[in-house]
Structures are given as structure tokens and as C-alpha cells.
Symmetry: C2
Subunit: 137 residues, 2 copies
């Protein structure tokens, strides 16, 4: 059993998976710092990501491994993997050459909450690809 | 009931809380793009964050609202709140003036996986405050 000190101050990678066997993962553009998406990995997806150097996630909706870009071709090449203090969240710093969001945007975070307190969103990005064409392939 | 199109393409803010009533939230330095931490909010924490302009989270370990900085003084002033395509994850773009991690680092992500496949971490940051002093106050 790892101690709090092992986890927080140690040099051993002991990622903590939740009750569903998953860990949340943030993909961040290693060039610009832009946050591209958040997804989940199980142990196998993490091992594949480390081994291959390209991001593989676990799809919660489809309950299966999902190599990012398997349909769209929009892969994520790993530059660096960071882990947080309690080792229950990861950042993939990645190189990408295309939009990463299935809706057609570079980042999944293409809307911001308007400053007024009316719970409305404003679009802060333009689409960079046409998902209907990309996913028809 | 909101449709997939409402959620993904709409201008209505309809954040999706999980079975525990929580949504994951990434705090990102609005000046540098550095990812500082990941935490969770329930509906009340999110409403308080929007109303006050400072981050309030829900602590899963303590099962209570947690105004970031209530002990350390290291608050997060909100610049912008982003939501992702399926509205089940948020980014807070924040202004901070001190380390954000309880271990003493600016970011919780102070370790990276070493490139060799030995599951060892390397420290990529130095501590910016002494948590023993900060949390004794």
C-alpha cells in the first residue's frame, strides 16, 4: 500500500484509477498550451499510450478502447505525460495537426460562459474541419 | 430533455453533473496556459463560483464546499469559464498570485513520466511555498 508521501512526493508512477477503473486525462497542445479535450483511460489504454507514443483512451459511451484518430485520422503524438499530486489525473502534452473535437473544432472547449449571469454561452472558436465529411470516410 | 444538438451546438449552458452530482473542472492560468489543478464542483459550487468570481469547489474527500484559498489564501480569480462539447467538463481560466498545489508547487502537475518505460517520474518544477508554514496559519 502506498503512503500519501509515496504518492505525492515520490518518483514512482502509481496512477490511481477510480471505481470504474478509469483515470481522467487532459490532452494539451504542447506548442500552445491550449487544452484540447478531456477523456478517460483504463490501465490498458494508458499502457498502450506509453508503449506506442500515441494517445489511446477508453470510451465510456462505447465501453471500449479508442485510439484517438482511428476514424478521423486526427491522432495525438505524445510529447510528455504529467501526473498530479495525488496521481488521479494525467495531462498528455501532445502534438496535433488537425482539429481534435468531433464537432469540428480544434479544441472541445469552443464555448465560454457569458459574463452576465444568464447562463448563456458564446462561441469563441471557428470550426476547422467538417465532421460530416471526416467521419463519413 | 436536451438533445445532442442542443448540448453540442447550442448557446445554452446546461452542465452535466455525474451520478455523484459532480463535474470535473480544470483550473488553467489565464496568463501562461499552465494547467494548475483539476477538481470537482457540484451545482452549488458552480453557482458560487459564477456569483462571486472566485473558484469554489466541492471536496470529494471532505464532502463539503471548498472555497479555493480558504486556508492558504491562494485564491483563483475567474477570468473566463469554458465548457466542452458534451458539457461534462469545465475549464476555469484564472488569475493566481501564488502556488496552487497543497504540496507547495505552482501547479499540481509537477512530475512527468520518464521517457524510458520504467514507470518512474521526474520532478519538473520547484516548490514555490512551504506548505507546513502556509497551512499552520
Amino acid at each position: 500500500m502506498s503512503t500519501k508521501e509515496d504518492i505525492e512526493e515520490g518518483a514512482e508512477f502509481i496512477p490511481k484509477f477510480d471505481d470504474n477503473g478509469l483515470i481522467p486525462v487532459i490532452a494539451q497542445d504542447s506548442q500552445t498550451g491550449q487544452i484540447l479535450m478531456v477523456a478517460y483511460m483504463n490501465r490498458q489504454a494508458l499502457d498502450l499510450t506509453i508503449q506506442t507514443g500515441y494517445a489511446t483512451y477508453f470510451s465510456r459511451s462505447r465501453q471500449k478502447l479508442w485510439k484517438k484518430g482511428e476514424q478521423s485520422g486526427h491522432v495525438q503524438k505524445i510529447e510528455q505525460i504529467l501526473v498530479d499530486c495525488d496521481q488521479d489525473c494525467l495531462i498528455l502534452q501532445v502534438i496535433v495537426d488537425a482539429g481534435q473535437c468531433h464537432v469540428g473544432y480544434r479544441s472541445c472547449f469552443y464555448r465560454a460562459l457569458k459574463k452576465k449571469k444568464d447562463k448563456k454561452l458564446e462561441f469563441i472558436s471557428d470550426k476547422v474541419f467538417n465532421p460530416q465529411k471526416t467521419y463519413r470516410k
